[in-house]
Protein backbone atom coordinates (compact mmCIF):
# COMPACT_ATOMS: atom_id res chain seq x y z
CA UNK A 1 0.00 0.00 0.00
CA UNK A 2 1.43 3.42 -0.89
CA UNK A 3 1.92 6.08 1.77
CA UNK A 4 -0.88 8.19 0.32
CA UNK A 5 -3.29 5.26 0.42
CA UNK A 6 -2.29 4.48 3.98
CA UNK A 7 -2.98 8.06 5.00
CA UNK A 8 -6.35 8.03 3.28
CA UNK A 9 -7.22 4.71 4.93
CA UNK A 10 -6.26 6.02 8.36
CA UNK A 11 -8.21 9.24 7.87
CA UNK A 12 -11.37 7.33 7.16
CA UNK A 13 -10.69 4.86 9.95
CA UNK A 14 -13.41 4.46 12.55
CA UNK A 15 -10.86 3.34 15.11
CA UNK A 16 -11.34 5.82 17.98
CA UNK A 17 -7.69 5.50 19.06
CA UNK A 18 -6.54 6.74 15.67
CA UNK A 19 -9.16 9.47 15.35
CA UNK A 20 -8.83 10.83 18.89
CA UNK A 21 -5.03 10.88 18.74
CA UNK A 22 -5.25 12.90 15.54
CA UNK A 23 -7.61 15.39 17.19
CA UNK A 24 -5.27 15.72 20.20
CA UNK A 25 -2.25 16.39 18.00
CA UNK A 26 -4.21 18.83 15.90
CA UNK A 27 -5.36 20.72 18.99
CA UNK A 28 -1.73 20.94 20.16
CA UNK A 29 -0.65 22.29 16.80
CA UNK A 30 -3.47 24.83 16.85
CA UNK A 31 -2.42 26.05 20.29
CA UNK A 32 1.20 26.46 19.18
CA UNK A 33 0.27 28.38 16.06
CA UNK A 34 -2.09 30.65 17.97
CA UNK A 35 0.58 31.34 20.58
CA UNK A 36 3.13 32.23 17.90
CA UNK A 37 0.75 34.50 16.06
CA UNK A 38 -0.54 36.24 19.19
CA UNK A 39 3.03 36.79 20.40
CA UNK A 40 4.01 38.17 17.02
CA UNK A 41 0.98 40.47 16.90
CA UNK A 42 1.71 41.84 20.38
CA UNK A 43 5.37 42.34 19.40
CA UNK A 44 4.13 44.38 16.45
CA UNK A 45 1.98 46.51 18.71
CA UNK A 46 -1.45 45.06 18.01
CA UNK A 47 -4.06 45.67 20.71
CA UNK A 48 -5.94 42.80 22.37
CA UNK A 49 -9.04 44.08 20.60
CA UNK A 50 -7.41 43.79 17.18
CA UNK A 51 -6.07 40.32 17.93
CA UNK A 52 -9.45 39.17 19.23
CA UNK A 53 -11.21 40.39 16.10
CA UNK A 54 -8.75 38.65 13.82
CA UNK A 55 -9.12 35.42 15.81
CA UNK A 56 -12.90 35.89 15.92
CA UNK A 57 -13.08 35.53 19.68
CA UNK A 58 -13.85 37.97 22.49
CA UNK A 59 -11.19 40.37 23.73
CA UNK A 60 -11.58 38.92 27.25
CA UNK A 61 -10.97 35.38 26.00
CA UNK A 62 -7.72 36.18 24.26
CA UNK A 63 -6.48 38.46 27.02
CA UNK A 64 -7.26 35.96 29.74
CA UNK A 65 -5.44 33.20 27.88
CA UNK A 66 -2.29 35.14 27.02
CA UNK A 67 -1.84 37.78 29.75
CA UNK A 68 0.31 35.30 31.73
CA UNK A 69 2.82 35.50 28.89
CA UNK A 70 3.62 38.97 30.20
CA UNK A 71 3.09 41.09 27.09
Amino acid sequence: MSDATKVAAAASSRDPAVGLAAVASLRGLLESLEELQVTNARDQGWSWQQIAEALRVSRQAVHKKYRRFGF
Binding site: A10, S13, V18, A22, L26, G28, L29, S32, L36, N40
Partner: protein
Protein backbone atom coordinates in the same frame (compact mmCIF):
# COMPACT_ATOMS: atom_id res chain seq x y z
CA UNK B 1 12.18 -10.20 19.05
CA UNK B 2 14.39 -9.53 22.10
CA UNK B 3 16.09 -12.94 22.05
CA UNK B 4 18.85 -11.68 19.75
CA UNK B 5 19.56 -8.60 21.90
CA UNK B 6 22.91 -8.53 23.68
CA UNK B 7 22.99 -7.66 27.38
CA UNK B 8 24.15 -4.14 26.58
CA UNK B 9 21.36 -3.65 24.04
CA UNK B 10 18.78 -4.78 26.60
CA UNK B 11 20.23 -2.37 29.12
CA UNK B 12 19.92 0.49 26.63
CA UNK B 13 16.23 -0.29 26.14
CA UNK B 14 15.67 -0.34 29.91
CA UNK B 15 17.70 2.81 30.48
CA UNK B 16 15.78 4.64 27.75
CA UNK B 17 12.81 4.46 30.08
CA UNK B 18 14.89 6.13 32.80
CA UNK B 19 15.81 8.87 30.35
CA UNK B 20 12.17 9.42 29.49
CA UNK B 21 11.20 9.51 33.17
CA UNK B 22 13.96 11.98 34.07
CA UNK B 23 12.76 14.24 31.31
CA UNK B 24 9.07 13.94 32.27
CA UNK B 25 8.28 12.61 28.83
CA UNK B 26 4.89 11.02 28.24
CA UNK B 27 6.47 8.37 26.01
CA UNK B 28 9.84 6.73 25.45
CA UNK B 29 11.02 8.34 22.28
CA UNK B 30 13.93 7.74 19.92
CA UNK B 31 15.99 10.48 21.56
CA UNK B 32 15.70 8.62 24.89
CA UNK B 33 17.12 5.50 23.26
CA UNK B 34 19.91 7.63 21.83
CA UNK B 35 20.76 9.18 25.21
CA UNK B 36 20.65 5.77 26.89
CA UNK B 37 23.53 4.62 24.68
CA UNK B 38 25.84 6.76 26.81
CA UNK B 39 24.58 5.08 29.99
CA UNK B 40 26.12 1.73 29.02
CA UNK B 41 29.88 2.29 29.03
CA UNK B 42 32.08 0.90 26.28
CA UNK B 43 29.31 -0.37 24.01
CA UNK B 44 29.76 -0.67 20.24
CA UNK B 45 27.49 2.26 19.38
CA UNK B 46 29.74 4.59 21.38
CA UNK B 47 32.81 3.39 19.50
CA UNK B 48 31.05 4.15 16.22
CA UNK B 49 29.70 7.51 17.41
CA UNK B 50 33.16 8.44 18.60
CA UNK B 51 34.66 7.54 15.22
CA UNK B 52 32.02 9.80 13.62
CA UNK B 53 32.91 12.61 16.04
CA UNK B 54 29.53 12.68 17.76
CA UNK B 55 29.86 13.70 21.40
CA UNK B 56 27.51 13.04 24.30
CA UNK B 57 27.38 16.78 25.01
CA UNK B 58 26.32 17.67 21.48
CA UNK B 59 23.55 15.08 21.56
CA UNK B 60 22.38 16.07 25.03
CA UNK B 61 22.05 19.73 24.10
CA UNK B 62 20.25 18.80 20.90
CA UNK B 63 17.79 16.71 22.94
CA UNK B 64 17.40 19.53 25.47
CA UNK B 65 16.41 21.85 22.65
CA UNK B 66 13.89 19.39 21.32
CA UNK B 67 10.55 19.09 20.21
CA UNK B 68 7.25 19.44 21.85
CA UNK B 69 5.95 17.52 18.85
CA UNK B 70 7.07 13.93 18.43
CA UNK B 71 6.80 11.15 15.92
CA UNK B 72 3.38 10.12 17.23
CA UNK B 73 2.06 13.62 16.53
CA UNK B 74 3.57 13.53 13.05
CA UNK B 75 1.89 10.18 12.38
CA UNK B 76 -1.47 11.31 13.82
CA UNK B 77 -1.48 14.55 11.87
CA UNK B 78 -0.51 12.55 8.80
CA UNK B 79 -3.79 10.65 9.07
CA UNK B 80 -5.52 14.01 8.52
CA UNK B 81 -3.27 14.81 5.57
CA UNK B 82 -1.28 17.35 7.59
CA UNK B 83 2.47 17.16 7.11
CA UNK B 84 3.95 18.22 10.47
CA UNK B 85 7.43 18.61 9.02
CA UNK B 86 6.08 20.97 6.39
CA UNK B 87 4.16 23.00 9.00
CA UNK B 88 7.33 23.15 11.11
CA UNK B 89 9.33 24.28 8.08
CA UNK B 90 6.88 27.06 7.25
CA UNK B 91 6.71 28.28 10.84
CA UNK B 92 10.49 28.25 11.18
CA UNK B 93 10.80 30.25 7.98
CA UNK B 94 8.72 33.01 9.56
CA UNK B 95 9.77 32.78 13.20
CA UNK B 96 13.18 31.09 13.25
CA UNK B 97 14.59 27.65 14.05
CA UNK B 98 12.71 25.65 16.66
CA UNK B 99 9.89 28.23 16.85
CA UNK B 100 7.02 25.74 16.70
CA UNK B 101 8.46 23.29 19.20
CA UNK B 102 9.54 26.03 21.59
CA UNK B 103 6.02 27.35 22.14
CA UNK B 104 4.63 26.86 25.63
CA UNK B 105 1.74 24.96 24.12
CA UNK B 106 4.15 22.48 22.52
CA UNK B 107 6.34 21.98 25.55
CA UNK B 108 3.49 21.77 28.02
CA UNK B 109 1.77 18.98 26.14
CA UNK B 110 4.90 16.86 25.97
CA UNK B 111 4.91 16.56 29.76
CA UNK B 112 3.79 13.47 31.52
CA UNK B 113 0.80 13.97 33.81
CA UNK B 114 1.25 11.14 36.28
CA UNK B 115 3.74 8.55 37.41
CA UNK B 116 3.91 4.91 36.44
CA UNK B 117 4.41 3.14 33.17
CA UNK B 118 5.79 5.08 30.22
CA UNK B 119 4.90 3.55 26.86
CA UNK B 120 7.17 3.39 23.83
CA UNK B 121 6.38 5.91 21.14
CA UNK B 122 5.61 4.24 17.79
CA UNK B 123 8.81 5.55 16.20
CA UNK B 124 10.86 4.17 19.12
CA UNK B 125 9.24 0.75 18.79
CA UNK B 126 9.88 0.88 15.08
CA UNK B 127 13.53 1.74 15.79
CA UNK B 128 13.98 -1.55 17.63
CA UNK B 129 12.45 -3.46 14.72
CA UNK B 130 14.69 -1.62 12.30
CA UNK B 131 17.73 -2.40 14.48
CA UNK B 132 16.99 -6.06 14.00
CA UNK B 133 16.63 -5.54 10.27
CA UNK B 134 19.97 -3.68 10.19
CA UNK B 135 21.68 -6.55 12.01
CA UNK B 136 20.24 -9.09 9.57
CA UNK B 137 21.19 -6.95 6.62
CA UNK B 138 24.83 -6.93 7.79
CA UNK B 139 24.57 -10.66 8.38
CA UNK B 140 25.24 -10.21 12.11
CA UNK B 141 23.70 -12.88 14.27
CA UNK B 142 23.14 -10.73 17.33
CA UNK B 143 21.60 -7.36 18.01
CA UNK B 144 23.96 -4.99 19.80
CA UNK B 145 23.93 -1.31 20.69
CA UNK B 146 25.59 -0.56 17.36
CA UNK B 147 22.55 -1.94 15.57
CA UNK B 148 20.26 0.18 17.74
CA UNK B 149 22.28 3.14 16.56
CA UNK B 150 21.64 2.12 12.95
CA UNK B 151 17.95 1.71 13.73
CA UNK B 152 17.91 5.19 15.24
CA UNK B 153 19.19 6.66 11.99
CA UNK B 154 15.97 5.89 10.12
CA UNK B 155 13.29 8.11 11.51
CA UNK B 156 12.16 10.22 14.42
CA UNK B 157 13.87 12.89 16.48
CA UNK B 158 17.07 10.90 17.11
CA UNK B 159 17.57 10.57 13.35
CA UNK B 160 17.08 14.31 12.94
CA UNK B 161 19.61 15.01 15.69
CA UNK B 162 22.19 12.59 14.33
CA UNK B 163 21.77 13.93 10.82
CA UNK B 164 22.22 17.48 12.09
CA UNK B 165 25.48 16.33 13.69
CA UNK B 166 26.65 15.05 10.32
CA UNK B 167 26.03 11.32 10.75
CA UNK B 168 25.37 9.60 7.46
CA UNK B 169 23.44 6.32 7.47
CA UNK B 170 25.74 4.54 5.02
CA UNK B 171 28.90 5.72 6.76
CA UNK B 172 27.48 4.46 10.06
CA UNK B 173 26.67 1.07 8.53
CA UNK B 174 30.21 0.74 7.25
CA UNK B 175 31.61 1.73 10.65
CA UNK B 176 29.40 -0.83 12.42
CA UNK B 177 30.33 -3.59 10.03
CA UNK B 178 34.02 -2.82 10.48
CA UNK B 179 33.67 -2.76 14.24
CA UNK B 180 31.89 -6.09 14.35
CA UNK B 181 34.43 -7.57 11.91
CA UNK B 182 37.29 -6.34 14.11
CA UNK B 183 35.73 -7.78 17.22
CA UNK B 184 35.12 -11.12 15.53
CA UNK B 185 38.64 -11.22 14.12
Amino acid sequence: MFERFTGDARRVVILAQEQARERDARAIRTEHLLLALWKVPGNGALVVLDSLSVSADAVRSAVDALDGYDGDDAASLGTLGIDLDEVRRQVEQAFGPGALDRTRAARGRGRRRSGGHIPFERAAKKTLELSLREALRLDHHFLGCEHILLGLLHDGSAARILRSLGVDQDAARVAVDELVGRRAG
